[in-house]
Symmetry: C2
């Protein structure tokens, strides 16, 4: 995209009440815009990062055999009353409103109940199961406080997957496969080395749930990490009893701050029983459907990545989710513009996403914006490069640029980032 012709703007104005590094950086770099506390719009570059993360998640969910669908934000009271979760004392993040005729409605903060209800209309027999579905859906949660930028918002984008199984064993098998798919996601978005499967509080149905936690100084949670085993325990369940149960030793654990980037829940047959969602098994017996659910906060994940990768100049996106691979800067007259236009076309046609800074502004502003936006490669075209037919290229975290001929440049860009 050409910056002169599109809406992409960095800014020096950050709302005064903004505390989180992710929010400050993403606002400055023109990725998000604050509508109100905990509520952010995604500007064009921010939406590209979101879409890149979604695509990585989508491929992994499809690999599990799950089908993508899209549930609704508006929620019917009677569906949630079946499990008691309409009650504001049980779920304290509901936004509620009413229809013109006075009927109360809620706004979806999660979708276990409506999906169980939906599936009950289509699933009658063991032949109809197992089934798994997922969605990318905007959740609304009336959080008391919202000071973590896009890491914990009142409105956020979530990938939530729901698996409907015939037995606990079938549920467990899907659950284990999903753990691996989740680890693949974190690896692909660049968080692999910092992200651990973590035992956390299980709620009403099981002793533990599983979270995925990314080690980061600004994390909201404290976890106890066994780096050799690649496992962690959330402080909420940290006790001698639990450690011995999990075969972990206190002296091998490290206390670190971390951010939750995913969680998975095993509801067993509880929701099926509460909501009267049954199927007929091979022997003609009526059995409750087993439910498990699997969440990744897509916008939260973007926030955690922003918090994890930045320096004093700005963001540093892993190339798999960067909104563009190349930030192309032209500094000079017609010959420079000609060379820059040519390279822009070559890169674009070969499928490389490019931010082309063709604006009529000072070179220093272009360099600063390239760093602030955190694009993996910066390519500069100036009178010198236009004369000798070379291109100046620098990785976002490299100290100095090098001059390369076009072929070497293209090779470098498609190689591993620096």
């Amino acid at each position: 995209m050409r910056l002169s012709q599109t809406f992409n703007k960095t800014t020096k104005t950050i709302p005064g009440d903004e505390q989180a590094a992710n929010a400050k950086l993403l606002i400055q770099a023109g990725y998000i815009y604050k509508e109100m506390a905990g509520v952010y719009a995604y500007l064009p570059l921010g939406l590209k990062v979101i879409e890149n993360i979604k695509q990585i998640v989508r491929e992994e969910m499809n690999g599990l055999g799950a089908s993508e669908l899209l549930m609704t934000s508006l929620q019917a009271k009677d569906v949630w009353e079946l499990t008691g979760r309409w009650d504001d004392d049980k779920v304290d993040v509901w936004f509620k409103s009413q229809l013109k005729n006075g009927t109360e409605v809620g706004f979806g903060w999660s979708h276990e109940e409506p999906l169980m209800m939906m599936i009950s209309k289509y699933v009658k027999s063991y032949r109809d199961l197992p089934v798994s579905v997922y969605q990318f859906q905007t959740k609304l949660r009336n959080e008391l406080r919202a000071k973590s930028g896009i890491m914990r918002g009142r409105e956020f984008l979530m990938k939530d997957m729901y698996a409907f199984s015939r037995t606990q064993a079938e549920l467990d098998e899907f659950y284990e496969r999903t753990k691996q798919a989740y680890l693949n996601v974190y690896k692909k978005v660049g968080l692999g080395p910092y992200t651990y499967l973590t035992f956390a509080s299980g709620g009403a149905f099981t002793q533990f749930s599983h979270e995925f936690q990314t080690v980061t100084d600004s994390g909201e949670d404290t976890i106890y990490l066994d780096q050799n085993k690649g496992l962690a325990v959330n402080e909420e369940v940290y006790s001698d009893e639990v450690l011995s149960q999990l075969g972990l030793k206190k002296e091998e654990l490290k206390e670190v701050r971390a951010s939750e980037v995913g969680n998975i829940f095993n509801f067993g047959s509880a929701k099926g029983e509460q909501m009267d969602v049954y199927f007929t098994d091979e022997s003609g017996q009526r059995k409750p459907v087993f439910l498990s659910s699997y969440g990744i906060g897509v916008s939260r994940l973007m926030g955690v990545i922003a918090e994890h990768f930045y320096d004093e100049k700005g963001l540093i996106w892993p190339k798999e989710i960067a909104p563009a691979q190349v930030y192309l800067i032209s500094i000079g007259d017609d010959a420079v513009i000609k060379q820059a236009d040519e390279l822009y076309n070559v890169l674009t046609e070969s499928g490389v996403a490019v931010i082309y800074d063709d604006r009529d502004v000072r070179p220093g502003e272009k360099f600063a914006d390239a760093d602030l936006m955190g694009i993996p490669w910066r390519v500069v075209i100036n009178s010198e490069t236009a004369t000798n037919g070379k291109y100046e290229i620098k990785g976002r975290t490299e100290a100095s640029p090098v001059n390369l001929a076009k072929d070497s440049l293209l090779e470098k860009i498609s190689g591993p980032e620096k």
Copy 2:
């Protein structure tokens, strides 16, 4: 996708209160699921149609130079109070709720005000304009009645675009280009021959707004159509005075029922003045930003297409937006399954989307579902085709199938639909 392994189910159970043909057909064929009146979830096939329509719309909007972003559902009261549109007497479709601290919030039914507010933070000078942005966003509207299926819901997906211009002339130029882009969209989704630019009520700022209306028997609107000129007048502004103003003659007009599939609004400088959104022009003068907005209800458009193309057997999707191009049916033993698997792989690898009905159900059920789902091509593999190496193919509205060798089959599928 293999039907045996994914969540795709037709149903005979239609909610009793459902009146609209689009809702009945789409529910039966497994495209949508009714959450409550006017609120529908998109099942996997339905989501595919939505995504296909979005992609067509996206390409046209990008062609206009607009940048995609994503605004929020949660809306701040103070932003809408600037134009008086927070008032329920002025806008009667608000859903409202409140934060824990009592602050009132609304849920987005349109986004002119928040986008004007957003743009005011980034646009200061004539050099920053013109700018145009668009989004695909879930709108919530508290409609009094909701009986038109996905043609008028309380929750629906909309493409809304907003253009910010420096002068009325600059606005008008973008407005005219968008008219053409909209006509391109309707043509590409298969509604071209039935869709007309229509003069409608302009509201507070201009005498007319422009709608796009698709002629359809179940339409909610009455329009007066001049087929030669390709123009229409909505009955809400139909008068001798308006006709003479537009150069239309009563005797050349035909009264028809139609469904609105898009509308565009020219706000001039009114919102800029109301919301204090100004820029500095070339001569250093402070000028209000001009606003125009452009909507296409994506889910509504899907409903209109469903209402427009069906027969007694089910839906008939135009191939550009069909969730798959081929419905592949296998009827028989191992040799049949082998031929079907092979064709499935060949088609999938060559980029043709296939619904592979590999379920263990009666052939009649497979044929009925192929028609109900409205997939452009039905290909049958049975013991006869497995023996002679041919494939039975039939277009959705063709009377009888033909048997073709593989090359001719592939050619037919990639050619124009029947």
